[in-house]
Amino acid sequence: MNFEHTEDRRMLADSLNRFIAEQYAFDARDRIAKSEHGFSKEIFQQFAELGVIGALFSEADGGFGGGGFDIAVVFEALGRGLVVEPLLGAVMVGEALSAAGSDAQKQKLGDIINGALVAAFAHDEAGAHYERTHVATRAERSGDGWVIHGAKAVVPQGERADLFLVSARTSGKLDDEAGISLFLVTAKTPGLTVRGCPAIDGGRVAELAFDGMKLGADALLGTEGQGHATLERAIGRGVLALCAESVGAMEAAKTATLEYLRTRKQFGTLIGSFQALQHRMADLLLEIEQARSAVINAAAAIDGADRVARERALSAAKFSIGRIGALVAEESIQMHGGIGMTWELPLPHYAKRLVMIDHQLGDEDHHLQRYIALGKEVAA
């Protein structure tokens, strides 16, 4: 039993934290997050040069990490810095390429790792409400290739992505697990329309529409109709990344709130001397430690062979993070009082990110139900 990170991971976290402190202070982040592009390609490439993306992948894939705790260490640091650059897309699309890609397709992994290629995960649809098997987008064979009709909802940084991983149904009913196929789609493919807008927690998102979009045979990733297993792996990595990001953001929100309780005076005394606030702060600390434990459990389980144990740990973590993230966000704003409502303060931006993480890859309710359903598989 050992809860220390390896020397390599600690060094990576240190250099990433230092880079963020120097290059990504709140003003810079705010400027980037509301910019026309929604992130900085330059910063993204600097992350790649630091080895941040390489750490998310195994040596076999051209990286130098790829374990659950590599993802956890990187994304916790990104969460502390409220980073909007598209690293989530990199880890998710990269995982799918690694799991199911042909040799030719895997060539793209190198460009993801060196930051040349921005990848985006395009799976959610308007009516799915996080249900993974809900795929209405259809792909039909046409000659050697495919024709895609349908739409994808709220793709992170979709306007600037070079490569999309798109799920589409090639057979089966709307909610079937079988019959989902995955496609690699490059930006500017004819028949693809991208409509973007800002996200409330910074950065930009986009809706994708496919109107008879034609793809070559080489666009299919993995076996036709059997994309679900690959999706699950990619989403698993994404869930872990988001959970770790959340813990980083929680720590930042906690530090800011504690600092405020120690400096703000009312009624002639520090508000941190009031027991009503002390107990709420103690609750937050306790909950954040539980969230951290949830991330540790998920990171330890993600590379395990037992599918149900792995997926349960991931859903348990995302449920915990969803619940605790919203609590930390709401309580931090409340304890800050009026100033916590202002754009100028970093804290509310952390609060927004903490809450919006619950709107990505399944919310608290979704993952609680998934955890219960997976438990029945154990019992059966």
């Binding site: 039993m1 809860f3 027991q275 539980q290 434990s293 949830a294 540790i296 915990s320 955890y371």
Partner: protein, 402 residues
């Protein structure tokens, strides 16, 4: 980062499991798992079995008869005992007084009292709380006045202790007494060992809301206590008290109890039906069950993180306050769900069914009779050992620096 136990620790776990399979009497584990009340003889029997193996005083150093376990080994032992539904070790002598005597007692006291704790010659109880000193423990008023007469150096003790758990079985009590009224609150307190068979000691039962006689009031009227029964220095008893409380909190999360209780709850939820379907499939019940299970999974890891942090041999600090709060909340929630799972059969209460010798008919399933009683009894968890609100004060001061 590695959540696995070492091969040596796994071997130790196997050793503990084999011991429990071999030595834990089925009669005792059946009583514990069904929520029955243990008799004094039951607890003494289990203590003797553990003592024979050298595992009773697992917090003591080897030179005093402890097994010399690491923090991880202690955790594994306590966890496995809970999973096997072993009786709890009665903590007052073994886990509370023992470490205090080892740290603050003189040689004569250690030589005399420690072996008697191990052998079960004395049954100790704890004389801390008073009617006016609960969470505010330093407000104790029970007085001890020093005097010398023909029979020797002694104290005369007057006052009242309360919430004295299992005091009805005890022949000895360790007390916080006030030896200096002039000094500041914490500075006039002494730590005194009192023979409960002395003239002037009276024990009166307090019946708790579940109908149980678990706690007592203890009254002292001009009780003569030999001065040699003072532990540590006079007026420095608060130091002993604080030290003891850290030991009281070492297994405070009670993860093993929760794991065992949750497994039991799942079996009950599968057996109880609602409209012909298992209660476990009811979405509202299933959601509550899953929530507490996830919280417990997180808690297990939090507990191991704290243990790993103190594995160097230290005593857990304010982090144990977090374990206490969440650990007791989880235990309370599980017993709350067990009560709910009984439906209408939560209400019938045949007190005798919780004791030995009952052969009458129960109402509803056999496990129903203890569920509500256990739920009500478990309200104590967030009150004793420093209430959960006191724990938040400790976190606020020691960790958050507020």
């Amino acid at each position: 980062m590695d959540l696995n136990f070492t091969p040596e620790e796994e071997a130790f776990r196997a050793e503990v499991r084999a011991f429990l399979a071999d030595k834990l009497p089925a009669r005792l584990s059946a009583k514990v798992s069904s929520g029955k009340i243990l008799a004094k003889a039951d607890m003494e029997e289990w203590h003797a079995i553990l003592n024979e193996r050298g595992w009773l005083a697992n917090h003591w150093p080897e030179q005093y008869g402890g097994p010399g376990w690491t923090a991880v080994e202690k955790f594994i032992f306590e966890h496995e005992c809970a999973l096997a539904f072993a009786p709890r070790i009665v903590p007052f002598g073994v886990n509370m007084l023992g470490p205090v005597l080892i740290k603050y007692g003189n040689e004569a006291q250690k030589r005399h009292w420690l072996p008697r704790i191990l052998n079960g010659d004395d049954w100790w109880c704890q004389g801390y709380s008073e009617p006016g000193a609960g969470s505010d423990l330093a407000a104790v008023k029970t007085s001890a006045v020093r005097g010398i007469d023909a029979q020797g150096d002694h104290y005369i003790v007057n006052g009242q202790k309360t919430w004295t758990t299992l005091g009805q079985h005890a022949n000895m009590i360790f007390c916080l007494v006030r030896t200096n009224r002039e000094a500041k609150k914490q500075e006039g307190i002494s730590f005194l060992l009192i023979d409960m068979t002395s003239p002037g000691v009276e024990v009166r039962p307090i019946i708790t809301l579940d109908g149980e006689h678990e706690v007592n009031e203890v009254f002292f009227s001009d009780v003569r206590v030999p001065a040699e029964n003072l532990v540590g220095e006079e007026n420095k008893g608060w130091t002993c008290a604080k030290y003891l409380l850290t030991y009281e909190r070492t297994n405070i999360a009670g993860v093993g109890f929760s794991v065992a209780a949750l497994e039991q709850l799942k079996r009950i939820a599968a057996a109880q039906t609602k409209n012909g379907k298992p209660l476990a499939d009811d979405p509202a019940f299933a959601a509550r069950l899953a929530r507490v299970e996830i919280d417990l999974e997180n808690m297990k890891t939090t507990n191991l993180r704290v243990i790993a942090a103190v594995a160097g041999g230290g005593v857990p600090g304010a982090e144990s306050s977090m374990l206490k709060i969440r650990g007791t909340e989880i235990r309370q929630e599980i017993s709350s769900l067990a009560r709910r799972a009984m439906g209408v059969y939560g209400r019938p209460f045949i007190e005798e069914a919780l004791h030995d010798g009952f052969d009458g008919e129960t109402f509803g399933p056999a496990y129903a009779s203890a569920a509500a009683a256990r739920y009500f009894n478990n309200r104590k968890l967030s009150i004793f050992g420093g209430s959960n609100e006191i724990q938040k004060n400790i976190i606020s001061k020691m960790i958050l620096g507020l």
